[in-house]
């Protein structure tokens, strides 16, 4: 496995948490805006990865979605928001992520020092 493959897997694994985190900050976003926010953070997410994930999170009732037709728009937008279950899941994810990343950082430091 090369560095690129490892990074892709890492991003893929963390994408659920990143989506929940962005939606917690922005309250509600449509697909393209969400994709732009994730990619602005350097996650390198594609449409083919994001939309199936959104569908899965919506089915799991972690996200809620609604179509909104805005003034002057030619097409409706599907807006995503966190549900109470999503807010709860994110609250559980944060300390787990902190602990996990700290542990991995420690392990990597020990290896580089030995």
């Amino acid at each position: 496995m090369d560095h690129g493959t490892w990074m892709t897997q890492l991003r893929k694994g963390a994408l659920d948490a990143a989506v929940l985190g962005v939606l917690a900050r922005e309250r509600r976003l449509y697909g393209l805006a969400l994709l732009d926010r994730l990619n602005a953070a350097g996650l390198g997410v594609t449409e083919g990865a994001l939309y199936p994930l959104l569908a899965r999170l919506e089915k799991a009732e972690v996200l809620a979605a609604s179509w909104v037709m805005e003034d002057g728009a030619s097409h409706p937008r599907k807006y995503y928001t966190l549900t109470p279950a999503g807010i709860g899941l994110l609250a559980q994810m944060r300390p787990s992520w902190d602990a996990f990343s700290a542990q991995v950082t420690d392990l990597m430091k020990e290896r580089s020092q030995s």
């Binding site: 493959t5 594609t46 569908a55 097409h75």
Partner: protein
């Protein structure tokens, strides 16, 4: 715009494998995204977005199979498993063949189980009959019925035969679905 139209056409076709209620929302979402990209970032960005979605069939596969269908299959619920098999069979020659073989084996199993039950109800008329150029395994009656040769073994043979047929049918379908899932997972791997 031509590429976008062509992609949406491919997508509509690929979405046929999804349950009816899921096709339209999935299509609308991609369509809305592409129009949004066009309006906000221009035509060049649409090409990038189409690359991002990947081939329509693979996108639909990741939408349906990677999450719902593999989970449905893993649930071991008969209805979910059959749904998975039918969806896969629509696009996999291997699984179409496997499902056909399994169907034939299942019918055989049901037939053999029926013979075993018939032997309990009407033992004199049930068995393996030969004679007059005919071979009958099952129920035979009437004055022209051939001579019985295998009356008392029929329950045992039918029970073993139906059990083996069911087991083989299950294994054939399981192998077909597993092959399809692992192919899909390989295609979806980064």
């Amino acid at each position: 715009m031509t590429a976008m139209k062509a992609y949406l056409g491919d997508l509509k076709e690929a979405l046929e494998v999804l349950p009816e209620g899921e096709r339209e929302p999935a299509f609308r979402e991609v369509e809305a995204h592409l129009h949004e990209v066009l309006a906000q970032h221009g035509e060049e960005a649409v090409a990038t977005a189409l690359d991002g979605f990947g081939p329509a069939q693979l996108y639909v596969a990741s939408l349906a199979e990677a999450h719902e269908l593999s989970r449905s299959y893993a649930s071991r619920r008969l209805g979910h498993m059959l749904f998975t098999v039918f969806v896969f069979a629509a696009r996999s020659a291997t699984l179409t063949l496997a499902a056909t073989v399994a169907f034939v084996l299942a019918i055989t199993a049901i037939g053999l189980a029926g013979v075993a039950v018939a032997d309990i109800i009407a033992p004199q008329a049930t068995g393996l009959f030969t004679g007059d150029g005919r071979v009958v395994y099952g129920v035979a009656s009437g004055a022209d019925a051939p001579v019985e040769h295998l009356g008392r073994w029929i329950i045992l043979i039918s029970a073993i035969g139906s059990a083996l047929s069911f087991w083989a049918a299950f294994k054939v379908v399981q192998a077909g679905v597993s092959m399809r899932l692992s192919t899909l997972n390989r295609r979806l791997a980064p």
